[in-house]
Symmetry: C2
Subunit: 261 residues, 2 copies
Amino acid sequence: MDASPSNTTKRLTLLALPCVPLVQPGDDLAGLIRSALDASGETLQAGDVLVLAQKIVSKAQNRYIRLASVTPSDRAMELAEQVGKDPRLVELVLRESNSVLRYSRDVLIVEHKLGFVMANAGIDMSNVAQDGDGIVLLLPENPDAYCESLRQALASGIGGALGVIINDSHGRAWRNGTVGVAIGSAGIPALDDRRGDPDLFGRALMVTEVAHADEIAAAASLLMGQAAEGTPVVLVRGLHHAKRAGKASDLIRPRHKDLFR
Amino acid sequence: MDASPSNTTKRLTLLALPCVPLVQPGDDLAGLIRSALDASGETLQAGDVLVLAQKIVSKAQNRYIRLASVTPSDRAMELAEQVGKDPRLVELVLRESNSVLRYSRDVLIVEHKLGFVMANAGIDMSNVAQDGDGIVLLLPENPDAYCESLRQALASGIGGALGVIINDSHGRAWRNGTVGVAIGSAGIPALDDRRGDPDLFGRALMVTEVAHADEIAAAASLLMGQAAEGTPVVLVRGLHHAKRAGKASDLIRPRHKDLFR
């Protein structure tokens, strides 16, 4: 039995990029990120991962909806009554979702069209400018593809792998509080299959698939905060990931394999 | 409407302490951590958080069980047949749990006596030395209290708050893969209640409780890995947390408020 603890220092650094301006619809996020990197004196290195807050991607994609423009269906009216939410918001939640999983007073858990199980289809009103009537912000469209295009735009010149993640804060079953999770991912294995890797004692691990992109998303969330921090882009340096890249959609458990729906 | 993006650099550093020896039953983890800090040339600073892998706490507490010493009950025999696991392991899972929530072939989800919903009551055989018959390792006893005693042992002399977390890798509903979560916590707010904080536009956030200790646990997990990395202690530096401290048990959603049990 021969197990060797590590004697080398492993270090992970997360840097919240300063000087990222408030994002406007149509903004080129690759350009904004390049400028923010320049302003902070950082250059991208092979192996880096950029984590973007969902909100700035939604804003760049102009995923704003004015509530006054929404006419709630009968179903939305009825559900809104039961959960105690604005019927127009509930209408948008229904339009954005495949199905409603659970609801109770103040709680509406759905399967979003992207496959993610989450509250209110990820629609929220915080950090969204409002004047007069409410404006809400939907989740990004095609977040995995968006990450991939951003990765391609930013990876040129660094001569190695770059990861791009869009994170969002999700509630969970069983545990209080939200955590950052990946809703888009490119350039890294979102789900890291370590089955078969040797453990400290040389035996193969039996069942270990690690939600690698979710752990990165959670780590970045520590710097982004939820409130007024205004740091929506985090650079993560020092990660070691398997070469094989995947998507955040790999993190969605298929309905037929989920014992908790 | 006056929103100001950040102009200051925020940085978070995670350091996997080198030179942590394989932990033996009865080991003084505070002493081992002090030695590992010395070896790496690091001194604890106010605001630091130490994250310990669950396994080393279980080992220090001698939570080993030899499977040959376990006589499975009838119920364990029956359940073992249905899930396809060793009846003695299933017996231990039942002894460690309040209730069985779901099971199917290869899957056994329980509410652990500590309150955590998890697979196999957190019992595993990976990175546990075996000779002849199987030896398994149970979760630590009183992980919150263990963190608090470790915090007290290590905080003296740093003149400020120190956080201590025990992390473990848990599966989730709805999403594939495991993520690091906190099963013990002291010195920091495990659950960070930000309701009422202003958002970028000065409005109060409506529902934001952040599972702060879980996000730290996930971040540390990126450096610990699941397999042969042998780096069971991670020092996290640069976090900003509310002064109010809490426990990992704050992260457990009460059964009557959980729509997914």
